[in-house]
Symmetry: C2
Subunit: 387 residues, 2 copies
């Protein structure tokens, strides 16, 4: 998941140069007339992918006016047989389960792939190699400087009102505590508003945010800005209820942002359950004391790559339809869902078209971003270089 | 949850001495005629609680013949106004949220309460005190010898095909590994059948059970007997996929059973995800090597208590309607659900009746069991002493 507060949705993306119409596949396909409903579903999906380009803020508004929805629909309808062939290959043919198996082998072999880590480097080499083996064109790497932050050892222990080991997950880019940790009283708040009202109470405390979960976009502000807001009022650390509706003792992590004019304080997420417990204790007037230890380290930015592969277009090779996902993940999982799934489905899209001997009119470009988790670093550089 | 493979359901239980009819409450209550549907619901619940006594194996079959369902239904219907008063007090009156707040304070104050622990001792003292404060009758403790097992430090690290920290939770009563741990190759099986067929392969290995989750009763056999079955074929340890449909990196624990004629090997649960990953690796012919370290210790049985409180019956005081839950919990949670909820709802049942100045015909007895998790130890002793 990205640090901007909006979950990235893997799938078809148009590059700045891309035309709004479909790729325009060329190829033979004689298929049965069954699966009509599946086709309709595919059209719907394709349509949904195209829709935001015209309803939201378009990349190039003038392009939007080149094609009406009706024209796009008519053009897509012309690819019915090809779409059937793709679906048959993916769902019933040799490619059945292929993407899942590729992904499983990848995550099982490499494991977690945090920005700047050796594992991410391995992952990029692995993908470079398998994309070449897959026979895709223009397989290459585009260098990117990426953040390199390491979690280190971390723990939190409640000392009062009773001993209780609080499970934490440090937030990406957090500074460390001193080696002996930070021991301080806790101030529980449910919002930034409450924190500002109780600014006098926050000085020297560990601020615990027990914000209710509204939705990801709304609630993730506490993860992103919790340390900054607590730092402004003199807190010594911040612990943030995971941006989730429940936790099963598994706090979440994610990137967070310091501001240059605010003291940098260590910050981590805690489980929903521990946040609620501390809120209950606090509401009874019970004094809570916690020792927080975090050994996080930020190293200099390190070399990494966006990984690129293509099927070059036959008619408009300079027009690029971009499919993408990111290869980096968090360090506490395998990144199978976020974003291995997106990356491997994007790769599969190219594989299926190649396997059927199809050649699109426009170039299909797969980009496997690096360092999405620390703020879409690979994608931002790609945008700057390719706009 | 209990170690027998059947989740205990807190609620009304009839003692061996108990009559099958309802408690028989006596008291005034003039209530509005609204909430008719709620009454019906209450009757249904009461009826459902009584039903198994006659449909399953009855405790005393002859008692069952003393009351027909019709008679029971008629008798229950006579308490309509009293039931309304109880519901109003619990849902809209002074007792609103009381049980939740009592439970929250209890679990927040005491924390986890494993059989044999100081925390369980504190919990029993706490309950003895608050049940007296609540004005209940015959508040007393009945001594029970209970198991005392402690988890200690535990960890598992995959060394091949790659370094990966496997999150584990040792199973209750498991023996420890040597201090340096056990390092061995893994054999992944999906069932006891497969283990027996591959018995030759299991010798000297760490058996990983990747059994599919069917339901708790069916699947929990692997947790209960996994170590014994692996021990029979010469395995050095067993790791068992959590008895759950998914894990979020949080393996489960629970009690397990050794057999006297089978070597005792250390055993722990792992997450569903790690079990599936090892199964995938194994299916590709990849050699998996794991180091397992467990510092578990079994101490001599320790003194504990069933905690008892009553409202003595006015007409048949010797006939006892028993409501119960267990005070002990696992060491890795607070036991708010299992079984704080059951225990505190049972207490609430007595509190509500007492608060309304009602006096049942039969004795209402609250028993807060000790040491349910290691196999219903407190309840078993109560049964032996009171049958």
């Amino acid at each position: 998941c990205c640090s901007c507060g909006l979950r990235s949705e893997p799938g078809v993306r148009l590059s700045r140069r891309g035309a709004l119409g479909p790729t325009g596949l060329r190829g033979e396909g004689h298929l049965s007339k069954r699966k009509g409903r599946k086709m309709k579903f595919l059209f719907l999906i394709a349509f949904i992918h195209l829709l935001p380009q015209c309803t939201g803020k378009p990349l190039r508004w003038d392009d939007c006016h080149q094609h009406t929805f009706k024209e796009i629909k008519r053009e897509i309808a012309g690819y019915s047989d090809i779409a059937k062939a793709i679906i048959n290959l993916a769902v019933y043919g040799n490619a059945q389960n292929r993407s899942y198996e590729r992904l499983a082998r990848f995550v099982d072999t490499i494991g977690p792939r945090l920005s700047g880590s050796k594992n991410l480097e391995m992952a990029i080499k692995y993908m470079f190699s398998v994309l070449q083996e897959d026979g895709l064109e223009n397989v290459h790497l585009e260098p990117v400087k990426v953040p390199h932050w390491e979690r280190g050892e971390e723990s939190a222990m409640m000392l009062a009102p009773r001993n209780h080991s609080i499970v934490i997950l440090g937030l990406g880019s957090s500074v460390a505590t001193p080696p002996e940790g930070i021991t301080a009283e806790v101030l529980v708040v449910t919002s930034f508003d409450e924190l500002h009202k109780r600014a006098q109470d926050a000085k020297g405390k560990i601020v615990v945010y027990n914000q209710p979960f509204i939705n990801y976009k709304e609630t993730v502000k506490y993860r992103l800005l919790g340390a900054v807001e607590a730092g402004k009022v003199g807190a010594v650390a911040s612990l943030i209820r995971s941006i989730a509706s429940f936790s099963i003792n598994s706090p979440h992590t994610g990137w967070q942002q310091y501001q240059s004019d605010v003291p940098k304080i260590p910050t981590a997420c805690i489980s929903v359950e521990d946040a609620e417990m501390m809120a209950r204790m606090s509401s009874r007037g019970t004094k809570i004391v916690v020792t927080l230890k975090m050994g996080a380290k930020t190293y200099p930015d390190t070399g990494s790559f966006n990984t690129v592969a293509e099927i070059v277009g036959s008619k408009y090779p300079e027009q690029v339809v971009l499919v993408s996902g990111h290869l980096d993940s968090w360090d506490v999982g395998q990144g199978a869902m976020d974003d291995g799934g997106g990356a491997f489905i994007s790769w599969e899209a190219l594989s299926l078209i190649k396997d059927l001997g199809l050649r699109p009119k426009r170039t299909l470009r797969l980009v496997l971003w690096t360092a999405e988790e620390p703020g879409g670093v690979g994608a931002e550089q790609y945008y700057q270089l390719h706009k």
